[in-house]
């Protein structure tokens, strides 16, 4: 679905100095996969995300979306429709003043028939559970609701893949939960490929696979269990592991017999009960 081969990208700042934000990135994501990308601020995650939507084009290397090279102009709109993108700030990606009008924005740009747009908008709003708010004004919604509207706006374009760049960074815990549940649902029920960029380790636990970025490089890759069992390495990168994993790690240090890859509270409960 997504294939990045030896991708490099540099920004030039005002003084004309170049700064490589991506260095030789190789990432491959299969159809229907749920992939999380972690890394602290400035590690190049957003820069990479923008490559998946042809908002940025690689300086070196190639990005293929569903086999289409992002540098080929003729694929541009096809790529943007196939790989939809949700940004961090819900306020700055909602265009219209009515929820359903905003969801219609994408399909309208695709030049679809009015009745088809109507159908897609209703379906998308039902999927993210915002149908009853379709006539509302976005600025009166909560952060989590706005972000779900933004997701619906992408869904209405029928993408096969959605890239979410820290969609929960500006939300409160309940808003975060709403959005993550929506994302998981899209992945499981609609079989949409998900690329979730996040700061929250508890969100990454839901992924099939995790990439960790550091200074423009991919430094680690693996399933959540593989990644988070390396607590010390993760900490060295300045990242956290899920709280439960950290607790398990501390208990292991105290000599308690637990597996290293406990990720959720439920798993922890099972393991602790087994000790008895």
């Amino acid at each position: 679905m997504i294939k990045a081969k030896n991708v490099s990208y540099k920004y030039s700042n005002q003084e004309g100095k170049d700064y490589f934000a991506l260095k030789n990135i190789n990432i491959e994501i299969k159809e229907g996969e749920f992939v999380a990308i972690l890394g602290h601020n400035g590690s190049g995650k957003s820069t990479f995300a923008k490559h998946l939507n042809a908002l940025l084009l690689p300086l070196e290397g190639t990005v293929y979306i569903d086999g289409m090279d992002t540098r080929e102009e003729k694929y541009l709109w096809n790529i943007r429709q196939t790989a939809g993108m949700v940004f961090q700030n819900p306020d700055n990606q909602i265009v219209a003043t009515i929820v359903e009008e905003d969801v219609a924005f994408g399909p309208e740009n695709l030049g679809l028939e009015p009745n088809i747009i109507r159908k897609r908008v209703d379906e998308a709003l039902l999927t993210v559970d915002m149908f009853e708010y379709r006539k509302h004004s976005p600025h009166l919604l909560s952060g989590g609701q706005k972000q779900r509207v933004a997701i619906a706006g992408i869904l209405a374009m029928k993408p096969r893949c959605i890239i979410l760049d820290e969609p929960t960074a500006m939300l409160d815990p309940s808003g975060r939960k709403e959005v993550i549940e929506t994302i998981i649902k899209l992945n499981k029920e609609e079989n949409i490929t998900i690329v979730l960029i996040t700061h929250f380790m508890d969100e990454a636990v839901n992924a099939d696979r995790i990439y960790i970025m550091e200074e423009g490089h991919v430094v680690m890759e693996g399933t959540p269990k593989e990644i988070f069992s390396k607590v010390d390495e993760i900490k060295k990168l300045g990242l956290d592991v899920p709280q439960v994993t950290e607790l398990a790690h501390m208990l292991i240090d105290e000599g308690i017999d637990l597996p290293k890859d406990v990720l959720t509270v439920d798993e922890m409960v099972v393991e602790l009960c087994r000790l008895k």
């Binding site: 908002l55 709109w77 939809g84 700055n92 003043t97 009515i98 219609a104 924005f105 994408g106 695709l110």
Partner: protein, 267 residues
């Protein structure tokens, strides 16, 4: 305090006024405003009052919302009234210091104030009952014939949509910044005009920076959603002229004729 601005604030509803075609509503509003300038005696305002009562009544918009629209423009209304009272020549009925109040001035002031009040309330009724999107749709469609002479109809409509979309967001942000600065001792409320204006500068700087950042991000988000200008773009909601639109037009024409009658034929 910033919450009082109702211009561009839409109150959703399912009334005959809400459901009128936006093009028709815009045309009617312009006809209404034009009619206001034809009125030359108080009698003419009777028709205006009747027209407004009918429109507001049908729209089911609470009257206080209609009047809220006047608040930010109160200064202009008062200024007009004052200018008219003091500057009109005629029979002097009272003198304060060097200013003379004349009978004609009072009448003229009341007349102008009414005109302004109806103008503003009429325009507010349009924005209160028309979602900004259909309003801009209407403007776009009305301007479309002018494309050939270089009027960027779609771009103008898009700009207005975005401006309307971000007004509440930016107002909220202004409120937030003001509160944050007031908490640190900034004073927006006392002092003369100059010191108050100076207090606004530290408010505007962060506001502008944030507005530019928002614009940047929004442009990116729009591009990501395949936006490429007005060409080949379709709309979910098609505009269509219905029976009620013809009815509204006929009523407006009758209203306009009544105003003309009051101007030219009523002594």
């Amino acid at each position: 305090m910033l919450k009082d601005i109702t211009i561009g604030q839409y109150i959703p509803g399912d009334t005959p006024i809400h459901n009128l075609d936006p093009r028709i509503k815009i045309i009617i509003t312009f006809a209404f405003i034009a009619a206001l300038f034809f009125i030359n005696k108080f009698f003419g305002y009777l028709f205006v009052v009747a027209f407004m009562i009918m429109a507001v009544g049908l729209s089911k918009i609470p009257v206080r919302y209609i009047f809220k629209g006047l608040k930010p423009l109160l200064v202009i209304i008062l200024l007009t009234v004052a200018l008219n009272i003091f500057m009109t020549e005629g029979e002097v009925i009272y003198t304060i210091w060097k200013l003379r109040i004349t009978k004609e001035g009072l009448i003229q002031a009341a007349f102008m104030a009414l005109r302004l009040i109806f103008l503003i309330t009429g325009a507010s009724l349009l924005t209160l009952t028309t979602s900004p999107i259909s309003l801009t749709d209407g403007i776009e469609k009305l301007l479309n014939p002018l494309r050939s002479i270089g009027v960027p109809a779609h771009e103008l409509a898009m700009m207005m949509t975005i401006a309307l979309r971000f007004i509440p967001t930016l107002l909220e942000e202004t409120d937030k910044i003001m509160k944050a600065q007031m908490a640190r001792g900034a004073d927006f409320e006392t002092g003369n005009i100059i010191s108050r204006a100076r207090a606004m500068v530290p408010l505007l700087v962060p506001l502008f920076i944030s507005a530019f950042r928002r614009a940047d991000e929004l442009a990116l988000a729009m591009e990501a959603r395949c936006y490429r200008g007005g060409e080949n773009r379709t709309r979910m909601k098609q505009l269509s002229i219905e029976f009620r639109d013809y009815m509204a037009l006929i009523i407006t024409i009758v209203f306009f004729l009544a105003i003309l009658w009051s101007r030219y034929f009523v002594k």
